[in-house]
Symmetry: D3
């Protein structure tokens, strides 16, 4: 299996609902360093999994729709805790849609799996990994 | 599949038995940066895999039982080489026990897999990955 | 010159005032990885600059007073933009006060300089460096 | 499953053929930080997956055959784009051959899988993962 | 003293002249991760050293003039070895010129010093540090 | 001012004397990632501060004299606590001696300053910086 991984980041505010979260129930924020891994069993005719430049652009466009925002006010996340693992899934879904729209090129149809990892600090991260 | 990963570290002394180890047969030591990844297929009612704060506490408690020690003198490791990969398994087993005791909360029962990675330097690491 | 550096982090919300900041004028947030470097020309009788454990505790206590908060509502920062470089100075001042109170031990009086660096992402950081 | 991962690097020149590559069609170059992960289900009699020192030597020997070269002139890569993911596979194949020759010792026959990851910058990487 | 540091990267081919360089006399290449630190004694009216977004743009524009090229063919470097430390100085000079042109804004006139660091691998880097 | 920095590592056992050290009074160990920065005001005739390959060799030779050892039994450190900052100085002294012996080449006489940094974990480091 071949993979390509690209990196971006976003800086957001949010708060969590639930006693388990302690002081994180207060409005606070995070920088998320976002890694997206694309997987496919064979390379395409150009010897690539996906063009790294194009994959980076697609990721950055998705992150621009999230960064510099208070996620508590985003209609898409209403009633949910925007935990690191939850956001990994939300970005996974948006990348899958981008592939479906052809934003990553025709060859991207051969991508079988994606893993989205968000690093919230130097000591904690979360991910969502799925097939497409 | 969703994951959450938390990080801690320990600083230990040990020596290895076996000619393959060359100068590492002498008493020496290591800092191990320890990453523990928890996996489950669905998020719980709080939108989490496991609470990052609680997971960090459980990991740190386990590492406090190992750090600042000479592992050659630990009864639990008698007759074994405390290699990086061996220690990854030892920490995996202790985390599995902690989950069994409920230290990570009731929701942690839905955790299906764990991966423990120990970084022994900037150029070498080892891990153990298993289901629970 | 000898140094010791310890690391902690905080997760905060804030917004900026000024057209130069573009979308960062909206409420957003950041994880700041915080490195504090302590400098002195000679080691003390224990062969240390400062005890790393104690320095980490002092840093963590200061960061607990900032993390999981909306800095726009902190009286101490009223009317200021809580930029990364500004926060580096704010933490510098609090460490200097902690040394003055003796929180780092008597030997810490020999510390001549401190540098506080905040990493706001994998591609940007800021610092304040001063004598004490 | 147990793993051991070792790291090396190489510094090469190359160019790509295909309009998708834009300015990367020009002769340019890269530092590749190379991580090789070895996997096996059980440890050997020495409590290891593979000797880290020996694995590092095998990797460095392979990288010495690639580094400080213009890959456009390497017969082994003629007519191919030496993309990061393509090179990950090329190194995978050479490690598999080294194991077959016994360069990693007899115990290395129990290795079931290998993952080779090449980091081409702080924001992009690629890998090949396969069984042996 | 306050600092702000931003990061970019470039991927180039080159060769070196001089027996001291051994196999690096052959055409090869490198990824350089480039950190630029800006220093000034006081913050401006916006509480910043320099706008991080604008500084990143200026750095990226300079790096676009170098990346995806064979530096052996660049007239600006004719007759020189484009070592990591030499390139750190070349980028320093271009940033100083950009400040002189006002590309970083009027407030950037208060910047007193710059440090440019190029990481050529996980185990080697070089820098040039100067006043402006 | 120009710099070049090279990296190596060592893995040692030791214990500390003094109540301030708490559990670190027990025999334990550490991996130290060691960065050595060489500084000089002008480049030499080859456009370098010091040859990176040669500097790496000199550093590795020094580290081979320390790694895989119990520092409590090293005559050179008798009666001292081999703290991270203390070891940074010890390595600084050995590099200065290597330069004096000509191990880094004749050009290395122009080196004016050296900084040795030891990373003992992902959250703590220490250094010694001096002129030569």
């Amino acid at each position: 299996m071949y993979t390509v991984t690209v990196r971006g980041h976003m800086m957001i505010a949010h708060s969590f609902t639930g006693e388990v979260f302690g002081p994180a129930q207060r409005l606070h924020g995070a920088t998320f360093i976002v890694d997206v891994e694309f997987r496919r069993p064979e390379l395409d005719a150009n010897d690539i999994v996906v063009d790294i430049g194009r994959a980076t652009q697609v990721l950055n466009t998705i992150l621009e729709g999230l960064t510099f925002r208070n996620l508590d006010e985003e209609p898409a996340f209403k009633g949910r805790n925007t935990m690191t693992e939850f956001l990994a899934r939300a970005i996974f879904d948006r990348i899958r849609q981008a592939i479906g729209r052809g934003d990553l090129g025709d060859g991207a149809n051969a991508i079988e799996g994606i893993r989205v990892t968000l690093h919230e600090s130097h000591i904690a991260s979360a991910s969502f990994d799925g097939t497409i």
